[in-house]
Amino acid sequence: MNLSIILAIAFGGALLTYFSGKISKKARDVLAVLISLVIAVILAFFYNTSSREIFYTGFLDFPLILRIDTFSWFFAFTIAVIGSFSIIFSLSYIRKKGNTDYYYTMMLLVIASMIGIILSGDLVSFYIFWEIMSWSTFLLISYNRGPAIAAGIKYIIMSVTGSVAMLVGIISLYSHYGTVIYTELSGLLYNASSGYTIFIFVLFFIALGIKNAIWPLHVWLPPAHSEAPSPFSAVLSGTLIKIGTYGIILLIYVIVKINVFLNLGEGIVSARYIIAVTGAITILIPTFIALLQDDAKRLLAWSTIAQAGYIILGIAYGTSESVASGMFHFFNHAIFKALLFMVVGAVEYRTNGVRDLNSLGGLIKKMPVTFVGGLIGICGLIGVPLTNGFVSKWLIYKTLIINNSPFLAFAALLGTWGTILYSYKLLHNMFLGQLPEKYEKLERAPFSMQLPIVILSLAIILFGILPGLPLKVINSIESGFGLEPLTINIWGITSDTGTINMLNLFVAVFLIGIMIWLIFKGSKKSAGIGQYDNYAAGTTVPKNKYHYSVDFYGPLHRMISPYLRDFIDDFYMSLARSIKNLGNGIRRIYTGDVGYYAIYIMLFLALLIFIQIKWKLW
């Protein structure tokens, strides 16, 4: 099997889907799902293989290379799977809206380009796919119109900013070392001056950080994630921002190499520490901001930034445990954040686009499967033991504490407790509490929505109990990076400094749960009552008078909201405004008066002569 075939299927499939949509809608749906699944299945066969091929030689002097190893397999496979679930989810989500052909094509194009990025073996093809991803994402973010337009423009401007910076980095590397192929570049920076390495680092981090939404570069993410169509939000949040993560790992561990990276700077001003602290800030501030959100998807978007902070923290910290936790958390986050966006999407679908947390409620009675998906999703997000988020978070806390960085650990832990608050708010305000009367007749989510929700929920539990499965892959990636692999078994991790065994936990929780359930079951049965039979000081609960999920964390809101303006966003907006004003000002030199124009010509002539007389240029 050839790697270029995957790309051919992916890109060709995207175009094919568009044209098949002109013929038959059924065929298009089937084709879209089929293509995404086929990519995932083909990628699955590449497990534990490594190969490398030149797939195109026509671009200037650069042979474009594809390669696969465990590292890229891990990312590519995750992306393909999440992508295909999102497409399955889209089947009914998108049916009500227009432009369906366009939607599927762009979706497949985004997935294809992401896989292209992951599989590429040199920086030029990395960049090409990166840009294709950027613009196709842009075209899909604005799909919902209205506020999505501003979101899209914000995204693409930041994205272009990042990618031009990265382009400079790539070309600079090429001009220094004469190659852009990972394997040839790797370790070459060992001899470079640290100033140059930092230059390269900064350039790449602008691009990767914007895509990964590291804190001061995150401003595109909340509007983009919240305004995009929900299945695409799942792709965005679950996989697209992880492309940034992939790039960062690639940069640090493949191109720069771990030994150079760890020796870059000293103590607190080392690259490692600075990036890790940035990661910690990325955890804290967005977590607090997420607490204040009233829009379900915007809340999840801020949460995505915060979780990306964990990943960055883990990857940049540079111990083998932290890197493992970063990659494991990437995997977990892809699953549970995709799941949560799908849950919100299902609710949005049934309630005709309502995402305002203050006007939903009580949907557990109407959409139980979706609710369970949401519950498991937030458990994974929080990292409740026996869900997948737990092990990755445990690893990062542990390595931070053992290696004597308690403040980073504090940030990570506090972020988790903030996560509890906002994720509970999400669940409570959508599914729990009072069911508004207008939603009395709501139906369950359609099957094509329930299917990915159920599978992803099961995956969360599965990888929570058997963290060894992904950790095994991560281990072999780490040994490729020159890090010491962890000692793992299928149930957990053993080491001198701290051991975790999910089997013990699972059995304990399971048995005790069963025990308590038996006690519960054994005692008197309870009568079922509805929400209108509530205690309300003797009165009946009024039906549509008020809604008590509004302002759920009011007291905290009052306390912290003055300190939590997104001043970074304000900064960027004022920057944009001042560029606009500058442009408007500069435009005034074209006064419309031809006399001035003639004077300009003469002035230019005078300037040229002056320069010659002054400096003798030629």
Partner: protein
């Protein structure tokens, strides 16, 4: 007081539990409420007998009707009573719930509380002193022991009657009937 009688505890734990853990719901339904604070605080300390006030009818099994009951209050009394879990006991406090008392000819108080909800015991007087509360509690113990404090069963058995009386004075009630018909020993719908 047989609270420390281990044999009785083993024989009928439910009954003993009911006796010595009376969680009282006391709405400020009338002037009688003024006697409740002394009885639960330092001077008389009802907690020695396991009588403590609770905040919601869900957690309560003793309903104290403290004083006169106006028509408006009756609605809330009925609602709260129906929300209490079984077994539950009602005690009318003062003479007004018994026969109207000094409001015997008032147009908007009810004269006989037991027409609307079943009452297991009465404390006469205007006002009864806190000691009288304890007398009522000990009396209630006896009734529970003998199985005679079964107002909640009566309510179930004669629900039509009560509901009719309630609707006669209150007009149509907002909540649906608690029991569909007069049921003797049938549990209502269970799910857990």
């Amino acid at each position: 007081m047989d609270r420390n009688n281990l044999g009785k505890w083993l024989k009928s734990p439910g009954k003993m539990g009911q006796k010595y853990s009376l969680h009282a719901l006391y709405f400020c339904t009338g002037c009688g409420i003024i006697e409740i604070p002394p009885s639960i605080t330092t001077r008389w300390d009802a907690e020695r007998f396991g009588v403590i006030p609770v905040a919601t009818p869900r957690q309560a099994n003793l309903f104290l009707i403290t004083g006169y009951v106006s028509v408006k209050t009756l609605r809330y009394i009925i609602r709260s009573y129906e929300q209490m879990p079984e077994p539950k006991f009602t005690v009318g406090f003062g003479s007004c719930p018994i026969n109207g008392g000094m409001y015997w000819d008032s147009y908007n108080t009810i004269k006989h509380l037991d027409k609307y909800i079943p009452v297991d015991g009465w404390i006469a007087g205007c006002m009864p002193r806190p000691e009288a509360v304890f007398v009522a509690v000990t009396h209630l113990w006896t009734l529970i022991d003998k199985g005679m404090a079964d107002g909640y069963n009566k309510y179930r058995a004669n629900y039509q009657y009560y509901r009719e009386n309630q609707e006669k004075i209150l007009g149509k009630l907002e909540w649906p009937p608690l029991f569909s018909k007069n049921i003797k020993h049938e549990e209502y719908r269970t799910i857990a």
